[in-house]
Subunit: 442 residues, 2 copies
């Protein structure tokens, strides 16, 4: 009988170990060949490993193989002598003795993957993402994205939140409207979740503080640089809040934590991308109405839509607050009832407004949040006033009927936050396999 013991010791060395190895040690490692420079008797072979590139040196006198036998995107095991070298990435290079080819591509990629930055349109890049992601810079974008999710998750867990995973096939849309994907569910009509809103509220009654990091589906017919039809939402919801300011405190804390994590654990990728990570000390907060008036005055604009912010207004608010308060983030609070969903709580001091907020980052809205209605009668009335039938929301209304603490939450669009962090102008650059009106593949 064979037994599996769960030993996961790597047989080959990873970059962290190679960096610790002694000068002149004979080492074994593996990787995919990223680039080859053949200069006759001498040459360079760069390996792509799981956490970076390793520079190897071919020397006809010492290497027991022919450089001509190697090609890019081959998977190899390599043995060689480690030489400390300040100029090489990671401070070392490997002088190759032997190379064992494990697999060969049918055909080398048509594009040079090892360029510092791929020179192609975003369209072409996305169409070939299974391959273009192998480029060191492209890969770094999504490694940073992993770090962003890790940051939020770690912060939530440290602060007593329970992670939840709620269904994505649902009977009702949480955000209403036509922006919802429909599917046939064994003969019944079903939808793809536009947000985990109902479920995260339900689970506040169970775990008090919850978060979910998952897929959000919006059938929006906007083929713009800031819209995706499927994206990752970082959602939280918590009970026993004193006011919605508590929610902004958690968001500020989570952003601070995440930026620090990136600086600490993703320094390699930050360097590859050469992006400034924002310093967050405190985030200014301004009322929607005041923000509108401030930029109207400052930039001599007319207020066209009194109920919502136009994209240009978001940019101007960010600009103004960056100049005045040296902050790349700004909270805009107290949005009009008219533009907020049916579960938003009205401001008791002025029922035209809600106890809600958006967070703007470098000119773009990345978060919507606020306090929710917890009282049953108030929620039923609000549904009716918005033209909804409470009977359609029976399981959601159970929690209002049987008791909910004062609560609220927010959601961040991961790709938008990532796009702004990368100073990219199209959200697709921050989505591995973007879904938009014309794109279902790869």
């Amino acid at each position: 009988m064979d037994f599996v013991t769960g030993s996961c010791e790597a047989k080959d060395m990873e970059i962290a170990e190679l960096m610790q190895a002694e000068d002149n040690a004979v080492v074994k490692t593996h990787g995919m060949i990223y680039s080859i420079k053949n200069m006759g008797d001498f040459g360079f072979v760069t390996l792509r490993k799981k956490d970076g590139l390793v520079q190897c040196v071919f020397n006809k006198d010492q290497s027991h193989f022919a450089l001509e036998d190697l090609g890019v995107e081959m998977s190899v095991q390599a043995e060689g002598t480690l030489k400390k070298d300040e100029r090489a990435p990671g401070g070392f290079e490997i002088h190759l003795l032997d190379v064992n080819v494990l697999t060969k591509p049918k055909q080398a990629p048509a594009i040079n993957l090892s360029k510092r930055k791929l020179s192609m349109s975003l369209e072409t890049n996305i169409a070939q993402r299974p391959i273009t992601l192998r480029n060191n810079r492209e890969r770094a974008v999504f490694k940073i994205q992993e770090g962003m999710i890790r940051g939020f998750r770690e912060y939530f867990i440290k602060n007593g939140f329970t992670e939840i995973n709620t269904p994505k096939i649902v009977a009702n849309g949480a955000e209403g409207g036509a922006n919802i994907f429909k599917l046939d569910y064994f003969g019944k009509k079903a939808y793809l979740a536009q947000s985990p809103q109902f479920y995260k509220q339900m689970l506040v009654g169970v775990f008090e503080k919850v978060f979910e990091i998952s897929h959000v589906f919006r059938a929006e017919k906007h083929n713009t640089a800031r819209h995706l039809n499927e994206y990752m939402g970082i959602d939280m919801e918590m009970g026993f809040i004193d006011s919605f300011v508590d929610l902004m405190e958690v968001e500020t804390g989570a952003l601070k934590y995440t930026m620090e994590l990136l600086k600490k654990e993703y320094a390699r990728e930050i360097k590859i991308l050469n992006i400034p990570i924002p310093e967050i000390d405190k985030i200014p907060s301004v009322r929607f109405k005041d923000a509108k008036e401030m930029i109207a005055k400052e930039y001599n604009r007319k207020i066209k839509d009194p109920y919502d912010l136009e994209p240009e207004e978001e940019q101007l608010i960010s600009k103004l607050f960056a100049e005045k308060y040296n902050s790349e983030f700004v909270f805009v609070t107290h949005y009009p009832v008219k533009k907020r969903p049916f579960y938003a709580m009205d401001d008791p001091e002025d029922s035209k407004y809600t106890l809600s907020f958006d967070l703007l980052f470098r000119g773009m809205e990345i978060t919507t949040g606020g306090q929710r209605i917890d009282d049953y009668d108030t929620q039923v009335e609000k549904m009716k006033s918005k033209g909804l039938d409470p009977a359609d929301f029976e399981s959601y209304l159970m929690i209002h009927k049987h008791g909910m603490p004062p609560h609220g939450g927010w959601g961040i669009g991961l790709e938008r936050l990532c796009m702004k962090l990368m100073n990219e102008s199209n959200v697709r650059a921050a989505a591995m396999f973007p879904r938009d009106m014309s794109r279902l593949e790869p």
Copy 2:
């Protein structure tokens, strides 16, 4: 101007702090009222907090409120004197001075939520999940489930895996067949991902070792105790494997790590549920063909289906290996080509079989995994032999064409693993909001 600084200090005390407080300290906390025992001048009020229950004592002489004014599922802030008491949960109780009611339910739940175990059918329970999850035992199930996901994730991260999130709206099914949900995507036909198979393989070429914990959608028309139409899949895929045994090593390591994490950090929930957490030392591994023959002989059975395991055979294999090798887990390896998907690698020593495995736990398959085809021509040929058109898989085949290391992976169905861990007989008991042929709500 207001500023948000990101301070998330709790204003009220949580259970961990209360357990550290001095005897006779005056403390403030909050929670939802779980139960009330009114004995006239004296009584008990149990609060449900985010991580457990807190017992409070009402005493007419000391408490400045009327017990009659309180009701279950009210959200309250409470102030009282902490008294150490070995018999109370957590080793203390709070002798109430004041209670401030924050919110009241419209109506108390019709069921007694504070029972040790809810006495109702699973059907009734699920229909009222937004409320029944508030029961201490029900809640514990899903707290454990959170811990299971944490265990796998932490293990993967410690072992150099990159976390990925791949699209759930896709152009092709990875597992083929009719068990796939269709949707209209802006006039085009699209599907819900049956697994992240294609994407996780693509990303092995980028990050070498990847994992994804996310939603899996299967339109299976099986309304059985072990099928869900939406579930959480824990998926991994890694490159540079020597053989598929490496994959079983990672799975064994991850299971060991997860069980230890549960014992350490979820002891309270394990106690509430009174479940034995399996001790994993080493997991036996047996060939599919041998396993079939062993149980045919041992239990005097005829082999009906030589290509797959019947549910009863899975149970008997588990039984036999539990008795013989004292293991609740058993790997079954080398499944027939006929029953494995088109990306499975054939066994070079016998092309009727594949380099693949399932993991059985307490009589049920919880994992499918194996080595994948990495060679382009071999993959194209295999697709054709399975009646598939390679032209439909162009973006997937890019990775085979342009080079892939030897690689493989596996997927675990979270709810099945959780169901077996809980010794439940229906997978719906381990799904917060199950989706099956007749259920879309809550």
